[in-house]
């Protein structure tokens, strides 16, 4: 054992997700409610089955995200070798268009107050935030919410395409569940590898993957490289942006915004130790279905004295080790083995894991059904849950149903065990045993899944050896300006990138408190770069 690294990882318990999107909204409000990133949701929640955001992002035959093994079994970016990408750096990368995300819009709200006396009631029709023209809303950040797929859309869900007729889209068989997604902060991030500028990096102290806003040249290779499509392009600054794992909060021991505001209480944050030297080996196992186990094999037991020693050698501080030993994420992944990685077959070694969801028994609608609480039916029922195990397996285990089934059985066994206690009956140890759990295991799982308080859900060490960033803004680099081939969907041709400082709260203040609401939004798509269009910069105001 040579090099131990520590990462703050996340687990989301999908069995508790209510699909409320509070995480999306608080994240959006805190980080991306500014121009250039109107369409960007660092955190989004998808109804499954469904197309996702951006649409069909899981179709890597099209989007070329993540890694694959070449003929010699070596890891290579799916988007092609570096050489090829370097040579084509000025060409359009393979990346979603704004229509694959959605065309952000607003409404002519001001009509409501300012409409003159007219024939009918004033209304606020929609208007594009990209073109500033009236538009018809045809897709949104979460268009297929709660559809359970819907006839027109579900069949195009890449997962449904893979498992075909296992998913039946009729009323009796309806199912859905929610999949909240942030950046996976992968151990083997394809976005970082794809960046030609060296602007993307993984922080060694906590594993957070970031874009250096100074270094980013807007090549957008990262957007292609990320198979989860969680790197976005700011069409105002011309730079990549992504989920930061709320590092300004995490650094001081606060959970990410999406975690703290999760009213389903389904998110867990904690330290995971892994063996950094075996990442390549693990990410290169030939069979996609072995990647889950391979990634598990990277994770180290913080209670193991050898690990502790190696960690100390690797410079991991004591409080991080203490946090690692209390890590709810470690327990959900390693101890209880109920959390699974999202799309391990992308070979990026994602670090946001999921507990799969239970659901009602499917044949109950028509017939007498199973009683899912009855221990006798319990394990048989897993196969007849509305959410097909195959669907979950495609998401979490590259199609291998066994780990998903095992996880669901543990959840079910916990419920059956606890029900006996709840009803004042004698516990039956055989229930847990059939799912590979002892009574103590169930007790621990139960406490973690049902009760865990704020400081048990989020175990974040605070003592970083970090150097807090200077707030001084560094000017934008030369390489960006007007480079050839800088055309694309987001209006990169709109000239000089705007320093991020333009988005200060003072400009926000000016815009938000001005007397008038204006239609004069900046049309970055069509601006030829000459002159300063009205609305680009805040007007000076005498106050």
């Amino acid at each position: 054992m040579t090099r131990v690294m520590a990462q703050i990882a996340m687990v989301m318990n999908l069995d508790k997700c209510i699909g409320c999107h509070t995480c999306s909204v608080t994240c959006k409000q805190a980080w991306t409610n500014r121009s250039g990133v109107e369409y960007v949701w660092f955190n989004n929640v998808e109804t499954r089955p469904g197309l996702g955001y951006p649409r069909r992002y899981q179709d890597q035959e099209k989007w070329k995200g993540g890694w694959e093994l070449d003929r010699k079994g070596r890891l290579t970016l799916k988007s092609g070798g570096r050489l090829r990408r370097l040579l084509s750096i000025f060409a359009n990368p393979i990346m979603p268009s704004i229509q694959d995300y959605y065309e952000p819009w607003t409404y002519d709200y001001e009509n409501l107050t300012s409409a003159p006396l007219s024939a009918d009631t004033p209304v606020a029709p929609p208007r594009s935030l990209i073109s500033n023209e009236p538009m018809a809303v045809r897709w949104s950040a979460n268009w297929d919410d709660d559809l359970g797929g819907g006839p027109a859309l579900a069949s195009r869900d890449p997962v449904v395409e893979r498992i075909g007729d296992r998913v039946r889209l009729d009323f009796e068989n309806a199912f859905m569940f929610y999949l909240p997604r942030i950046c996976e902060h992968c151990i083997n991030p394809a976005c970082v590898a794809a960046c030609p500028s060296g602007a993307m990096y993984k922080r060694s102290e906590d594993g957070i993957v970031l874009v250096d806003q100074d270094r980013c040249r807007g090549w957008r290779m990262c957007v292609t490289g990320c198979p989860y499509k969680k790197v976005y392009f700011n069409h105002k600054t011309g730079k990549a942006e992504k989920c930061t794992f709320c590092y300004p909060r995490v650094e001081v021991g606060l959970p990410t915004v999406c975690s703290e505001t999760c009213v389903g209480r389904l998110r867990y944050l904690g330290v995971i130790l892994y063996d950094a030297d075996r990442v390549t080996e693990a990410a290169s196992v030939p069979d996609d279905r072995d990647l889950y186990e391979a990634q598990l094999s990277l994770f180290l037991d913080p209670r193991d004295p050898e690990v502790a020693e190696a960690a100390a050698r690797s410079g991991i501080p004591d409080d991080w080790m203490a946090a690692a030993r209390r890590s709810p994420v470690h327990d959900l992944i390693m101890k209880y083995r109920i959390a699974l990685p999202l799309h391990p077959e992308y070979r990026t070694m994602p670090m946001v894991w999921y507990v799969p969801p239970l659901s009602p028994v499917v044949d109950a609608l028509a017939g007498s059904g199973h009683d899912g609480e009855d221990a006798g039916n319990l394990f048989g029922a897993i196969e007849t849950l509305r959410i097909p195990v195959e669907y979950l397996a495609e998401l979490f285990t590259a199609g291998d149903p066994a780990p998903v089934t095992a996880s669901l059985r543990r959840l079910a066994a916990m419920r059956a065990h606890m029900r006996r206690i709840n009803l004042g009956e004698e516990p039956d140890p055989s229930i847990g045993a059939r799912a590979g759990l002892t009574g103590d295991d169930i007790d621990g799982m139960y406490r973690l899944l049902a009760l865990a308080r704020y400081d048990e859900r989020y175990v974040i060490p605070t003592a970083y050896a970090a150097q807090p960033g200077s707030v001084e803004e560094i000017g934008c680099s030369l390489d960006y300006d007007g480079g050839p081939g800088m055309t694309g969907p987001f209006g990169e041709a709109s000239g000089q990138p705007v320093p991020v400082a333009i988005e200060t709260f003072h400009s926000l203040k000016q815009r938000q408190t001005s007397e008038d609401v204006t239609h004069e939004r900046v049309n970055l798509l069509n601006w030829d770069g000459k002159g300063v269009p009205k609305g680009m910069f805040p007007e000076k105001e005498d106050r």
């Binding site: 889209l169 060694s204 389903g264 017939g367 009803l423």
Partner: protein
């Protein structure tokens, strides 16, 4: 790694940066030096974080952190500092939802109302009149009494043309309109509408206080919203009292019935998810595969509106297997002590057999003492009738003192089985109105043939016993006889076997856990015309299994927000009770029914929905006749009361006597008898904290057409009905809605992040504060400041024009007062009842002063709440010290209420939940009445002051204001005081009622729990259901994921996360029948109006039903309709008010009026519509 060449490139070619990389240079690690990331650090930084929340019609009452930077509100996240609810259960943190998290968008949004606005044509006319030398009141009078000018500004309502005006001019016009109306028509022609005090107690109270002090009427909302479960007053004698969400955790069996908890109770849904891990079984009953269904162990896909049938069949199983085939001691003991099941009911002969009639009372036994007609009777084990303690006859009588309790000195018989029997006819409605004939065991008591409620229940539910006459089901599989499991299957589509199994599981769980079976009820089952019968069928399951008043058990009705925990203090301020009593309060539904002329479009006989076994008292009558009868019978107040100005009545030497004489001699009429007479129109309506016209207004187009005189989509307006009744529609809001668009004057309101206030809810046991993160920007003002500004100008004008007047106010017999024993026997009076009247002196020049101070009646008359009276002498003195005293005018020496914070302080000081001294007083009074020691329930030292709530949510304490216990070691569950301390329910028997014996309940066939199907609207309105190019579907308006409660449908963030405009959810089958694809524009049309929306097509929807989610207003992305060429309507453009007469019963025990306690519901679920694809080219102008 791939190729050597690439490796080389990687090593050298991180083209621009040298950093430590992984050994294989695939991954770049970086420590420190992260200046480039300073942007995010900078963005995260902020100057302060302020605690606040959101203040209208949301049960959430979530505390929020509002972030402020440079004086700008930037965003909000949830507070996580709720007090712990115990070591072995999940905590409340965090509480919030996406709607709340997006609220700050409104602060600076382009839909924000930044200045006062008024309709240009009105302003011009007003200014012209003023320039002509008229004073404000005369100017207003001139405009509004001139038919041409009146028509001009009324017809411009809702059509734009708003102009900015200043606050002085706005308040002057408003004040002038009020003064003119009071002077010319009467103060009860002024109305205020603002819902849900709990969510922003002071913002509600301040406007209500103004309206009440001038003699205007406040309109109820809980019943109007159809959120009031009328079954609650009927069964419990309580408005609504429910467990906090943390008590779901205690349930061992949880049924979500018509409730979509993840969407509508988002902050609390985790308790449901987590309790499953504790082994709770969850059953979801819902027509669609809802968000909640994902969490269920079982999903019962039920046909909309048929829930009562399933519950009745489950009740059949419970009664048969757990009461007849065998007895469960826990259940039997419970129903004997806490329900009316053992009480005796007289049978009445009808057509040679019998029908149930009235409860046997002590008066029937010959007792002529006080309250004898209100003392119900049971049968002792020796077959002798016994008058037990606890019935209403013990509640208000001197002799009842110490005996209003649930102690049973005998073990009453539950059934009279084993001797004689009689045949009874019982109504059924499942296949049209009919009857079943079944036998009950009987005894003769004096001249009365009696049976027990329990025996009637078995007959009603069809549970056979050997030897009883009549027609009985042959077994569970008998589909012909109600209420077997097989009978319900074709109605509900739930397989009979599942109904049986789940009923058994409910009962077995309840038996094992002594009552930890809970039903979470939602608007999907409440808001039907017969929602009360659906609920009674549910409640029967819970009562029979001993679940009510038990932690983890009972009903959990979360529809609307009834729980203003500091109730007594709020009521005092909101009613202006400290200065004058009684305030005018009117049930909303019949008010709107009459004044929007929806009654004219009811073209069916009121007898049509009656029981065939009733006396037929409604036959040949119109529902509006029944409204008038309810008013004349003294059951229900109405505004206006009479067809004359009550101030004019007050001018008589003896106003009470004069008014009575005028009534008796027919010169004075009840206004409800002629609602379209201009003398009886409402003239001024103020709406705040509400979007009445874009949300709750059932029959929206009738509001626009008749009440406002604006344009509408009514297909066939009644040409004989008046248009434009209101002289002034005033709204206060911070965003543009249908209500502001149609208002004559719009005042710019502060948002929830710009004021002080208090919040509480039924979902959690805390009270916490609103605090201003910023001052109200532009020219916005808090509701508090706005109403004080109006009151100040009003007082100036009124001093001159009105002076001091005497106002004659009708006093309606109220629940929880001795008035509830006004009409013994539950009989409809033969003719008009001369009402009780009160004379209230109104010093109109002093209104502003009174608004701003706490009046002397607080300590002189005390604070009445739920039948007890707090005496706040020490509190008033304390408030004087804390808030300061008024120094001049007629209010000199009174404690000040001149800021929101001081009003918050007063609310907390004057309520038992936040002031243990008052709670102790109340419990002492109850102890005297019940003869039970209740002193352990409260602690005199408990006290919450406003600054406590600003620091952190604070746990309230037990108080007679509510029926359950509050403690750090247990969760709130209603009626635990009743069950654990033997305090009676506030009902006729003092127990929970299965049987309701009022005349009108018999008339409607609802004396016992019964299944009533959804109304056959097509038949009632004589429609043939033939449509070209469209299909007829059931039209439901459930609460939306993207706009409920703390949020509105116009929020850009929510719209970006959904479909960006009005939508209608439909099944794949229905969509394909009319050629509609996902996102196609469709139109839904019926006799009430038009909705234009885009279709969302999903197989999780059942065929034959569409959802148009609640509160989709006409303001965002609503094009012109093809049908009318006018702007499409709101979700309530297709609905209308249908009044259920039984909701108007009054003056009879728990069936007595109280504000928001009992009144007809504005139900809207029975509606149908035709839906069709329309041209995909839409136009907005």
């Amino acid at each position: 790694m791939a190729s050597d060449a690439e490796n080389l490139l990687l090593k050298t070619g991180r083209f621009f940066r040298r950093v430590p990389a992984n050994d294989d240079p695939r991954t770049l690690y970086l420590v420190g030096g992260r200046e480039g990331d300073s942007f995010y650090r900078d963005r995260w930084s902020h100057d302060k974080v302020v605690r606040s929340t959101h203040g209208v019609n949301c049960t959430g009452s979530c505390s929020w952190k509002v972030y402020v930077k440079d004086g700008i509100i930037t965003w909000e996240t949830q507070q996580t500092d709720y007090p712990s609810v115990g070591p072995d259960r999940p905590e409340y943190e965090p509480r919030g939802c996406p709607r709340g998290a997006a609220f700050s968008w409104y602060t600076y949004s382009p839909t924000r109302v930044r200045y006062p606005y008024a309709r240009g044509v009105l302003v011009e006319m007003y200014r012209q009149a003023r320039r002509g030398g008229l004073d404000p009141v005369a100017a207003w009078a001139e405009i509004t009494t001139d038919p041409e000018r009146r028509r001009r500004y009324q017809s411009a309502r809702g059509k734009g043309g708003l102009v900015r005006i200043g606050w002085p001019e706005a308040t002057e016009m408003i004040a002038a309109a009020h003064v003119h109306t009071i002077k010319t028509y009467g103060p009860d022609r002024v109305a205020g509408f603002s819902p849900i005090p709990a969510m922003s107690i002071v913002s509600h109270a301040v406007g209500s206080r103004f309206v009440s002090l001038i003699g205007g009427t406040m309109l109820s909302f809980y019943d109007w919203y159809a959120d009031l479960p009328v079954a609650s007053p009927q069964v419990f004698g309580d408005q609504t009292d429910v467990p906090e969400s943390a008590d779901w955790w205690d349930a061992a069996y949880l049924v979500l019935w018509g409730a979509n908890v993840p969407v509508t109770r988002t902050p609390d849904a985790h308790y449901m998810a987590e309790a499953r891990y504790r082994g709770q079984k969850v059953v979801v009953v819902s027509p669609d595969y809802s968000d909640a269904a994902k969490f269920a162990d079982e999903w019962l896909a039920i046909r909309p509106g048929t829930d009562g049938a399933l519950a009745m069949a489950m009740g059949h199983v419970l009664l048969k297997e757990f009461f007849v085939d065998r007895q469960v001691p826990y259940f039997t003991d419970y129903v004997k002590r806490f329900t009316d099941l053992p009480f005796l009911v007289r049978l009445r002969e009808r057509d040679g057999v019998h029908v149930p009639d009235k409860f046997l009372t002590a008066a029937d036994l010959g007792d002529t003492g006080e309250g004898a007609e209100w003392k119900t009777v049971l049968m002792g084990p020796d077959g002798e009738p016994v008058v037990p303690n606890g019935s209403l006859g013990f509640r208000w009588t001197d002799s009842g003192k110490g005996r209003w309790n649930l102690r049973l000195d005998v073990d009453p018989l539950l059934t009279l089985y084993g001797g004689r029997s009689a045949t009874v006819d019982l109504p059924r409605f499942d296949d049209g109105a009919g009857a079943v004939r079944r036998g009950v065991p009987v005894r003769q008591v004096g001249e009365h043939l009696v049976t027990t409620v329990f025996d009637l229940m078995l007959a009603q539910y069809g549970v056979a016993r050997d030897g009883l006459p009549g027609t009985w089901p042959s077994g569970y599989d008998d589909p012909a006889e109600p209420y077997t499991p097989a009978w319900q299957e074709p109605i509900t589509s739930v397989p009979a076997g599942r109904a049986v199994r789940i009923a058994r599981e409910m009962a077995e769980t309840a038996a094992k856990t002594e009552g930890r079976f809970m039903i979470v009820l939602g608007a999907g089952t409440t808001q039907w015309f017969h929602g009360d019968t659906i609920y009674r069928a549910f409640l029967s399951l819970l009562l029979l299994t001993g679940c009510q008043g038990v932690n983890g058990g009972g009903w959990a009705h979360y529809v609307g927000q009834e729980k203003c925990r500091p109730l007594a203090g709020w009521a005092q301020l909101a009613g202006g009770l400290d200065w004058s009593r009684p305030p005018r309060q009117t049930p909303g539904t019949p008010y709107w029914y009459l004044h929007t002329d929806q009654w004219r479009y009811d073209r069916f006989d009121a007898g049509e929905l009656c029981s065939p076994l009733g006396p037929g008292a409604f036959n040949g009558l119109h529902t509006a006749d029944l409204v008038a009868r309810a008013v004349r019978s003294g059951w229900m107040p109405m505004a206006p009361a009479f067809d004359r100005n009550p101030l004019e009545l007050g001018e008589a030497e003896d106003p009470v006597e004069f008014t009575r004489r005028e009534l008796r001699e027919g010169r004075l009429r009840f206004a409800a008898e002629a609602p379209d007479d201009p003398r009886n129109w409402p003239r001024v309506l103020t709406v705040w904290r509400s979007n009445l016209l874009g949300s709750s207004a059932k029959g929206n187009e009738y509001f626009l057409h008749h009440l406002l005189g604006a344009g509408s989509n009514l297909p066939q307006p009644d040409p004989d009905a008046p248009r434009g009744k209101l002289d002034l529609l005033l709204s206060l809001d911070f965003r543009m809605t249908s209500t502001t668009l149609f208002s004559d004057i719009v005042l710019p309101a502060a948002t929830w992040y710009e004021k002080h206030d208090l919040s509480s809810t039924d979902m959690h046991p805390f009270v916490h504060a609103f605090n201003p993160a910023i001052d109200p920007p532009w020219e916005t003002r808090t509701d508090f400041d706005a109403f004080h500004a109006i009151a100040a100008r009003f007082s100036e004008l009124a001093a001159e024009h009105l002076g001091v007047c005497r106002d004659v106010v009708v006093v309606t017999p109220q629940h929880d007062t001795p008035g509830e024993t006004a009409q013994p026997g539950g009989r409809e009076p033969d003719g008009p009842v001369v009402p009780d009247l009160a004379v209230v002196e109104r010093d109109y020049g002093a209104v502003a002063g009174k608004m701003a101070t706490l009046g002397p009646l607080a300590e002189k008359l005390g604070l009445p709440v739920k039948g007890v009276v707090f005496r706040p002498d020490a509190e008033v003195e304390w408030l004087g010290h804390s808030n300061g005293l008024a120094h001049n005018g007629s209010t000199r020496g009174r404690p000040l209420l001149d800021t929101e914070a001081k009003a918050c302080e007063a609310v907390l000081a004057l309520s038992g939940v936040s002031n243990g001294r008052l709670a102790l007083q109340g419990f002492a009074q109850l102890a005297e009445r019940t003869g039970t020691d209740l002193s352990e329930l409260a602690h005199g030292g408990h006290r919450i002051v406003f600054s406590d709530t600003q620091a952190r949510p604070v746990h309230v304490a037990s108080s007679p204001e509510w029926s359950g216990k509050e403690a750090h070691d247990r969760r709130y569950s209603p009626f635990t005081i009743n069950v654990e301390n033997g305090k009676p329910w506030h009902t006729l028997t003092g127990r929970m009622h299965f049987f309701l014996d009022h005349d009108w309940m018999h008339e409607y066939g609802e004396a016992l729990p019964v299944y009533r199907p959804p109304l056959d609207i097509a038949a009632l309105f004589g429609e043939d259901g033939q449509v070209q190019g469209g299909i007829v579907v059931r039209y439901l308006t459930p609460h939306s994921k993207w706009s409920i409660h703390s949020e509105y449908q116009d929020n850009l963030i929510m719209l970006s996360l959904s479909r960006g405009g009005p939508t209608v959810w439909m099944s794949v089958e229905d969509a394909s029948a009319i050629g509609v694809a996902d996102n196609d524009w469709v139109e839904a049309v019926n006799r009430n109006g038009v909705v234009v929306a885009r279709a969302i097509v999903s197989h999780r929807m059942p065929a034959g039903t569409v959802y148009v989610y609640h509160a989709q207003d006409r303001v965002v992305d609503v094009p012109l309709s093809e049908r009318t060429g006018r702007r499409g309507g709101i979700h309530n453009s297709l609905t209308r008010v249908l009044i259920k007469p039984t909701h108007m019963i009054g003056a009879y025990g728990q069936l007595s009026f109280a504000f928001n306690y009992l009144g007809p519901t504005g139900n809207q679920r029975d509606e149908i519509t035709v839906i069709r694809r329309r041209s995909q080219e839409v136009r907005y102008q």
